[in-house]
Symmetry: C2
Subunit: 226 residues, 2 copies
Amino acid sequence: MILNMRIAKDDLRAVAVIRETAMGLFAERGAAAVTVREIAAAAGVSPGLVIHHYGSKDGLKDAVEGRAIAFFEEMIGEFARLGEEGGSASLAELFAGRLESEPAMVDYIRRLLVDGGEAASGLFARLLDATEAGMRALAGAGVVRPAPDERIRTAFLLANDLSLVLLRRQITQAVGFDPLTREGLGTWSAAVIDVYTSGIFAFPAAQQVPGEAEPDEQPLKEGHNP
Amino acid sequence: MILNMRIAKDDLRAVAVIRETAMGLFAERGAAAVTVREIAAAAGVSPGLVIHHYGSKDGLKDAVEGRAIAFFEEMIGEFARLGEEGGSASLAELFAGRLESEPAMVDYIRRLLVDGGEAASGLFARLLDATEAGMRALAGAGVVRPAPDERIRTAFLLANDLSLVLLRRQITQAVGFDPLTREGLGTWSAAVIDVYTSGIFAFPAAQQVPGEAEPDEQPLKEGHNP
DNA sequence: ACAGATGTTAAACATTTGTTTATGATACTG
DNA sequence: CAGTATCATAAACAAATGTTTAACATCTGT
């Protein structure tokens, strides 16, 4: 079989345009709220072509989801690799970097995480595994302080990173800049590093102070009388 | 008008059962993916009754969303009030507390936050305002260390709290317990407090270390040669 | 007990939605 | 140029969905 087929470029062609368009609409409104006709219109093709290429709407959904998962897996791999090499990249930084080439991807991944597709459930776990390995390495190297429970602390740190993806819109609106751009990420990271370095309390020894609002507190290890 | 109407109980009645059932299904799959017939079947009533009570599916959606927003607003109010009083409750703790009475609520609020309904967009902002006020009060009282940018740090802390709601399933699966239960929250909070108190680095002065993976890093204030 | 709300249902309706089918255009090969 | 495989469309279809309508039950107050 000769390789003169146009599949050489593969992307840019209608098949890919449909998939990309669908990802954008799915991310925005959720797959069930988007009709095949809408996708076709947005992609500039006929409704029949969408089905012709992907078999069914579910097929298209699977293709979109599959691509997002592959993207995420690749990112996890890169993340883990950078960890082993002692490289320097945060998860948010990786997201911000890829954001430029595929703007709809981050929005779709947000949906993927929340909608909890079976295939997507494992992503967090695998990401956590990679991150935990990195943290243990850093702890072994004496860079980070060992945690009472490394897995829980890592889960907390990972959730914090992912909250940027999940709450991107709200954060952007609230603070006035998008933390998933290269410039915005710098400003955001500075605040994060500050907390991760020095904590938030004025007197580190006074952590048992029944503060008030923000920090999750009252680990319930000591009851307090009413 | 006499008060013999059964509206006295108001809840428990079919109208409320429908709303509650719909909230559960909407939270699980998204409103668009749930049919009126499914809601009716799950609530044990006829499809027509759903429309009869709420005018349309959109009306039902609005009712559900309105209830969730009211719930959230109430929580924000309580949160702010506790802040002023110097009380002791974290956002996650408030969620965990109400979770028992209305299990579907947290799941729906997760959807509300990511689906970005116009009405829901302001919730984060208002919650952030309340939290920031609380943080400034704590900073003034000398409990917490002042931040370089109080709003950004507060947004970070708030996002961390909300990530518990957003990633509840994934976290539960990954660490083996639900952090939004009273016991789970204690374990989780201990890890959070630990980071907020002592940070994650072994040598707080060595924050410029080009660590590796987890912590967002490289604030870009200093370029690094390639 | 009777009139009238009120709560509820089953069946019918119009529209939308995913999908199919038959047909046409376009480009590459022999 | 003819043949053919690929790409694409328009119109038709069947199922599903939101909604309406008319009738039925159940309680309420007089």
